[in-house]
């Protein structure tokens, strides 16, 4: 190895070595802060999204954690301002994987399992909110995940169609049609609930 080659190798080694902390912008403190900001602004929404995609709570926790791991791994590749999109698109992929592995269970208990109380001594109104949420999840249960993702992001998370298109990497027209179909699905299921309720009122 010539002196020049050695010098070059050294320079390459130095350049590829992680720079010392706190030396310049874009370094650890920034990254940590950015990660924390992402968690604080978007983690809850990501978690909710996973949950509404049909994962149970334990799976949601694991999946949400996995999403964060991906975020950490790709922190520098995530454009500023696209963090939310990145999280949701990652979450969608992770959720789809979990659902595939859980499919058999889902089919078994679809539409048959009662909406059960947790059995704890919570105040009743908490149960009401929880029940509303349980009903929401049951209404969404048979909705195909593609429709469901759009429906949830639009109707429950309040995202714009453009944001959804970018997060799920869909054409705008696709978002619109999936939303329409998701709504039809949801409204039809909801109508059944109402029907069942008025039926019960009639009996009494």
């Amino acid at each position: 190895m010539t002196a020049t080659e050695g010098d070059l190798a050294l320079r390459i080694a130095l350049a590829s070595r992680p720079p010392p902390p706190d030396m310049a912008e874009g370094l650890p403190r920034d990254r940590v802060q950015r990660f924390e900001r992402i968690v604080s602004e978007h983690f809850a929404a990501t978690w909710r999204f996973l949950r509404r995609l049909g994962l149970d709570e334990a799976d949601t926790d694991d999946a949400a954690q996995e999403v964060l791991l991906v975020v950490v791994g790709k922190l520098d590749a995530i454009n500023r301002g696209s963090e939310r999109s990145f999280l949701f698109s990652t979450a969608f992929r992770v959720a789809a994987g979990v659902r595939r592995s859980r499919r058999r269970h889902a089919e078994i208990d679809e539409d048959l399992a009662p909406i059960a109380a947790d059995g704890d001594a919570n105040p009743e109104e908490l149960l009401e909110l929880k029940r509303a949420r349980a009903l929401l999840d049951r209404l969404l249960l048979p909705m195909p995940i593609e429709l469901r993702a759009v429906f949830v992001l639009y109707e429950l998370e309040g995202m714009t169609m453009a944001e959804i298109a970018s997060a799920l990497d869909l054409a705008p027209g696709t978002v619109a049609s999936r939303l329409r179909r998701g709504r039809e699905f949801f409204n039809a299921r909801f109508a059944k609930v109402k029907q069942a309720q008025s039926g019960m009122r009639g009996v009494r």
Partner: protein
């Protein structure tokens, strides 16, 4: 892109509106937030040994939560980040703990393994309050009265308020609500009737319930009234109704939504400066809240 009105803004079915709102009141458990916290500490740690120590230190084992393969992957990722992140453990820990409002001394990098044990769970509501309370600008806004009123209402983050209230409310308080219930279906079941009756199909499994829901239903109706006033173009009535709602309920469950409605009503009235100010406070107080997305749209900001 053409944005169709949200279902929440369409028909006035109380049950549907409760169902659609129920998701935004769903928050990650303290347990997962502890895990996130443990992982966040890992972001800044620099060796595998440290990650291992951190993950077992507080009984919050990052490794045990994932499968063994993903554990290795996890550690690999965290370590690779840690290498770049260098010695910023104390930075992460300090920020996280500040976010909780805890000011105890934070372990220096050498004592990383101790940090998780010292660190209590971070709940999103606590984080939300921690993220905003230190900001002098939100605390010193003296602008339009709407802003002042808003801030008075939001000294405690509403999600937190709700959780506390739900945890604290004795059943008696719930039972004491007025008989008139906007949700018709909730008034028919006699008190004491089984609340959850497993039946053959999903829809029937959801039985209408007794009075406990009445207060919730009334609260919901109150917010819906403001919402429909706004949708029908009567911003003044909407503002009035939002204020009435906030006066009526000491710890309103739908406070974030009420605040957002106020902002939308102000925008509708052309009071953009006030609206913008409130929207900024709102977004600071409720990071990640679904409504912040809509507020950004209202303010014409990029999402």
């Amino acid at each position: 892109m053409n944005e169709p009105p949200r279902l929440l803004d369409q028909d006035g079915d109380a049950l549907k509106s409760l169902i659609l709102r129920s998701s935004e009141l769903d928050v990650p458990s303290a347990r997962i937030m502890r895990r996130v916290h443990a992982l966040a500490l890992g972001v800044a740690s620099s060796t595998v040994a440290t990650v291992g120590a951190a993950s077992t230190g507080g009984g919050v084992a990052a490794g045990t939560m994932l499968g063994s393969v993903s554990t290795i992957k996890a550690i690999a990722i965290w370590v690779s980040v840690g290498l770049v992140s260098g010695a910023l453990v104390s930075g992460t820990a300090a920020t996280l703990m500040d976010a909780r409002g805890q000011r105890e001394a934070v372990a220096p990098p050498a004592q990383t393994a101790e940090v998780p044990r010292a660190a209590a769970p971070i709940r999103p509501d606590l984080r939300a309050s921690g993220a905003t309370t230190p900001k002098p600008d939100t605390a010193t806004v003296n602008g339009p009265s709407a802003v002042a009123a808003y801030e008075n209402r939001n000294t405690a983050p509403p999600e937190r308020a709700m959780v506390d209230r739900l945890a604290a409310a004795p059943p008696a308080a719930v039972a004491a609500v007025a008989p008139a219930a906007p949700i018709r279906t909730t008034t028919t079941t006699p008190q004491g009737a089984a609340r959850f009756e497993p039946t053959e199909t999903a829809p029937q499994a959801v039985k209408p319930s007794a009075t406990p829901n009445d207060e919730l239903a009334q609260e919901l109706a109150s917010v819906d009234q403001a919402r429909s006033a706004l949708r029908s173009g009567n911003a003044a009535a909407a503002l009035e109704q939002v204020s009435r709602y906030e006066r009526t309920y000491k710890r309103p469950r739908f406070a974030p939504e009420a605040s957002a409605l106020r902002i939308e009503a102000l925008i509708a009235q052309g009071r953009r400066a006030e609206a913008a100010q409130l929207a900024r406070v709102f977004m600071a107080n409720h990071p990640g809240h679904p409504l912040t997305v809509r507020l950004r749209t209202f303010l014409g900001e990029a999402p």
